[in-house]
Amino acid sequence: MTAPNSEDVALDNRIREGASDALPPPEVERHLHTQLAAFRSRFEGHEPAARPRIYPWRRLGIAGMAAVATAVVGLIIVRPRAGFAEVADAVLKQPWVHTRTTLGTDRRVWEDWYSPTKDIAAWRAPDSIRYEDYRLRVFDSYDPAEKVVYHGPVAWNSRGGHFESMAGALKVLLQDGRKPEHLGFLGTGGEQSKVIEQRSEKVTEQGRACVDIRLTVKGPESAQPMTMVFRVDAATLLPRSCRMEGHHDGKPVTRETQFDYPEKGPADIYDLGVPKDSKLVDRIPSGDLKRILETLRAGRERMGNYRVVFVTRYESFDHRWWTEWPQLFYRKGANFRRDFARGAPADLATTKRPADGEDLGKWWTERAKLFRFVPVYIQRGATGYHCKPKTVNDPDGSEHQEIVSVRKTYYNASPGEIYPVDWSMRPEFACRPPMGIGTMHMEPTLDLHPTEGPPGCILLSVRENRFWLDPKRDYIVMRWDTVVREGSSLKVIGRNETEEVARSPQGVWYAKRIRRSFPDRNGKNKPAGDVNYIYVDFDAELPDSLFDVPKPGRVY
């Protein structure tokens, strides 16, 4: 055994220094603690139902209707133009589309039903059965392990969106007749997918003439291409089967889907095999809770247009907060934008602290003018664009900023239920956070006379979260605790407090200052936290071009 030499010690210190700030952001930490709390519950014998993990390949299995769209796209590529619209019509006019999908080496089976005319979707998977009625905007979901049917509100868009996007794609393709350069209408990841090879052949199946369309598609997240073979009935123009071969997590995966078109589909979840004597749990908000949620939603929607200068002050160490890099947030209607500062003033380190009593909103607004900003996120309606910025060195030694890539994300939530990804830093959303109400295992309870919390507030508890709502301020959240079970008691692991509020010109209450604290963040009973300052300007000029779809290229 040898003692470490000084080189090793220096290297080790550098490694430790590089890895020292290993605490995740507060929201991530909350999620990880929640995972651990659920895991502890498993040991203690009261295991909550785990959040299902949806893998892309399984998602494909569940969302079997996407395959219908894909099959039609396959036809678009190889058949005369006049036939393509017929195919789309043929699928969309069916009373029910039923798919049976087998996946993996163990041949697990998923069954999907979708009625384009009734706008109803249902599926039966090995670990769940679900029925969604988009006209009534309700779902029923059965967990075989619990033997409980949950009845709740649908807060996302219809699966008919697959068909609508397919129709949109058809229109574009029919107009110019080109080979599709991407398959964005296939859903997540499809936007960057590319058809790298295509061919077709006539085949006969059970005496019926069919066309096999073979596509080789390269996805954005896979090093290896995926092969899809679609078989379409030549007479009815309806897809009959789809076989996909590819890799997931480095392993080969095969997925086969068989299509049929029954006259009748399931009338309710019990038609899918759920025992009729199963316990029913109603998660549809009603009464006071419904009124509160509607008020919160109205506040999110009615907030006016704004530009925000956002700054964080850290509390767990001596922090020269006036040298912090501000961020900018914009909103115009349903469009949002977030900018990072990427170029700082030369005197950043020697900046003088603002005088006591100085208007910090004005100070930071002026201060922000000295920075150069680059957009990192733009949301237009239900579509978000994540930008990846990069500093590029020029030959003359100067630097400029570029967006090197843009990642598009579509949020399949209903209007009014869409939260920008940076919601916790925005004035109207930070005090109206997502609460998870309506989902299967998030049981809400309302306490109109809580024994603790901000004065005058009511307490809404949703699983690990406790929200104190202020009835005099349209129920905005004045305090939000996240707790975990510790023996028979509950331990607070995170707390957000809305310390300062104001009203917008439209009369909407919003947060100006939020304190986030973590009583035992590092496991040594040492509290940590920060304070977010949100300086809102409702009179800022907001040209529409601010929210243009970002493109890779030079910013400044």
Binding site: I15, G18, A22, H33, G343, E399
Partner: protein, 179 residues
């Protein structure tokens, strides 16, 4: 059930925060951290009997977290290429990520973690357990199911690689742009 409850409070409870830090240190992304933690907890659940009998159970659990995090990161790295979002700009992580207050430190962090991620699995796990988690070699060896001399060899080789990797990319504290 009481035995299992005791398992958690004796082995997992005291290192909850270390598990979180171990996973986050490697993944640096909210979704990846959650995936890694879920994978790690699943592995712990399946092997809880073995862990309970292990010579260094907490070290073993930490190793499982590190393994799971490296698995997720390497899986993602293979897929994402240029499509990876900016650090923390994904979902909730994005919403919560404070702006870095020290650019040089952030660069050093990126270099160190990037260099560790490029090591072989054994070297990466060994250097993480030994240097970052500061476990004695005896526990590192037990967690890695190898001899103490082998654990030392992994750490030594990792140091040699890191010395070269970090020397090539000295940080520039004067840099004023975030990259």
């Amino acid at each position: 059930m009481s035995d299992e409850s005791g398992f958690y409070s004796a082995i997992i409870g005291p290192i909850e925060d270390r598990m979180i830090r171990a996973v986050w240190r490697i993944t640096r992304n909210g979704q990846d951290a959650e995936d890694a933690m879920q994978d790690a907890l699943l592995a712990v659940w399946k092997r809880r009997d073995r862990i309970g009998r292990h010579a260094a159970p907490r070290a073993l659990v930490l190793k499982m977290c590190i393994d799971a995090a490296y698995d997720v990161v390497r899986r993602r790295a293979r897929r994402r290429h240029e499509n990876q979002p900016i650090d923390g700009a994904d979902g909730l992580a994005d919403a919560a990520m404070p702006p870095p207050d020290d650019i040089a430190r952030r660069e050093l962090r990126g270099e160190v973690l990037g260099a560790v991620a490029r090591l072989s699995r054994c070297q990466a796990v060994a250097i993480t357990l030994r240097v970052i988690e500061e476990l004695p070699y005896e526990q590192v060896a037990a967690a890695m199911n190898c001899g103490e001399a082998t654990a030392r060899k992994h750490v030594e080789r990792a140091r040699n690689h890191l010395r070269v990797a970090l020397a090539k990319h000295e940080p520039h504290p004067q840099t004023r742009s975030r990259s």
